[in-house]
Symmetry: C2
Subunit: 307 residues, 2 copies
């Protein structure tokens, strides 16, 4: 049961601009109830997925924040590998203006003809916060950020669910297993001739959990709105406050600024990512952010959040 409702987030690359010995280029994996999503796909992502032991063949959708090289140059390799390994299922790709052109280039670089599966390309043009994916178990929302090129933040959101009353279900004689999930999906069910009503084992509705990914951007109002009440906010923190002038110039955020977004948005936990290669030691970034928002961590490659 816990496994079935777990949202698993894996950091596949936590560096910004260039990879380092310790950090790969941006990519974030979210798995929930058999749905597998990738956010950003920097060079090397397919290898990071293999190292992490993730089922890269089963990715359903890829969301690209923007088309700076560090966030998207792993797409070509990943798509070609999926085709080599005989993927047949459609792959959905979402991104800002320019998505179609980039995908067209990466799948025609060198001797390659995509044959085995379809790509569904969704170019998102939005000024506000928009729901761009609505699935049975979750939705994804996008909002424009404030970077030097068109850039989107994304929020993964669990479908609003009623609390499952496990003790009550066991009292009704429901065995642990798939039936739990079906009841939680508000389906009535039978055990033998006995009808088990979802209403009898479900409590009041509760908000779906939220994981928000914001990279790259200056801190901005849209980012705060998108992240509102997230269980986890993953925010870029390329530089420290000391380098704020550079952050402004490159349209990035400092650790302190990311923490301010987390605080304003009322999130539960903040993870900093997209760390500049200049920081071998990230403890100062973490300290700086924690002075504003205590529940902050600097993410490392392969860190996993389970919620």
């Amino acid at each position: 049961m816990e496994e079935e409702t777990m949202i698993r987030v894996v950091f596949l690359g936590t560096s910004g601009s260039v990879p380092t010995r310790e950090r790969g280029l941006p990519s974030l994996y979210i798995e929930f109830r058999g749905n597998r999503l990738l956010f950003d796909c920097g060079e090397g992502t397919q290898r990071q997925m293999r190292i992490a032991g993730l089922p890269f063949m089963k990715i359903d959708k890829i969301f690209i924040t923007h088309f700076h090289a560090d966030h998207c140059l792993g797409l070509g390799g990943l798509i070609q590998t999926l085709d080599l390994f005989k993927r047949q299922k459609k792959l959905e790709i979402y991104g800002p203006q320019g998505t179609e052109e980039v995908i067209k280039k990466v799948i025609t670089t060198g001797h390659f003809i995509l044959e085995g599966f379809d790509l569904e390309i969704n170019e998102i043009d939005t000024r506000g916060i928009t729901q761009i994916v609505a699935e049975r178990d979750y939705s994804v929302w996008a909002a424009p950020l404030n970077h030097s090129v068109p850039c989107l933040g994304y929020r993964f959101e669990e479908r609003k669910r009623r609390k499952f009353l496990k003790k009550r279900a066991l009292e009704f004689g429901v065995p642990e297993g798939p039936l739990f999930g079906r009841l939680q999906d508000e389906e009535d069910n039978k055990i033998g001739s006995k009808v088990i009503r979802a209403d009898d084992v479900l409590g009041p509705p509760r908000a779906g959990r939220r994981v928000t990914y914001i990279s790259d951007t200056r801190p901005c109002k849209r980012g705060v709105e998108l992240a509102s009440h997230s269980d986890v906010l993953i925010h870029e923190a390329t530089l420290s406050e000391e380098e704020r002038a550079s952050a402004i110039q490159g349209k990035h955020s400092t650790a302190k600024e990311a923490a301010t977004v987390a605080k304003k948005a009322g999130v539960k936990e903040l993870y900093l990512t997209h760390i500049s290669q200049r920081y071998d030691d990230t403890s100062e970034l973490e300290r700086e952010a924690r002075r504003v928002f205590k529940r902050t961590k600097v993410a490392k490659d392969f860190d996993t959040i389970e919620l």
Copy 2:
């Protein structure tokens, strides 16, 4: 002195087609007397160079064997990083037919405009073995291989040199250091008012050392000719003899076939690379090759040869 004339070869990626936990995609680094060359540039090469601590900013020339994704998709990231870090020096790129088109695509994917340095693109169209680079210290030769797409093998060759008689030089009062190199370059030199003639400290000419890189191909006559009398032959060995039918179909070589090329070419040492992801354990590939050519090793990522 030893350092100055050392040819250093570093394996940056030894997998074929797809990266694995242990092996990155094809790339090979050769450094000799301050010249730094890259052969192939699979996805992730820039990171592998950083992990190996190699000076990727100082690469002079890149040679691509062919334009299957695994051999070239690291070019975009590497070039963009060089530009980000303010490279100014021209970068030379060599490859078979199609090089220009691929490079044009990889440097225009996403929001990127190459501003800081020039690319010199050399498309090699050859039916035989051709010298494509002639520098003061070395030359590079190319030959067409037998793969499913246009593909070149490359031979790095030290300029033919006279043996340096170190003991004799010391007797003449030449101090160890840069003067050794200048004398070896057949320049006469002065220490104070004393003229040291190169002829006095140099022995008879000896053949330049050779390092040959052959990937991807069926075993072929041109490969044997290119590799002739190499000190080191690096040859693809995607599969074992057991999978020979697949090797033929994909236009690859088995370990045994690579060993046969090494034997026919009379090389000193053979390193197998471009290993299929199916081999967690490569000892059988090594054994298979050694039955034909004893001085064989299966290369691992970051293995370094110094000769």
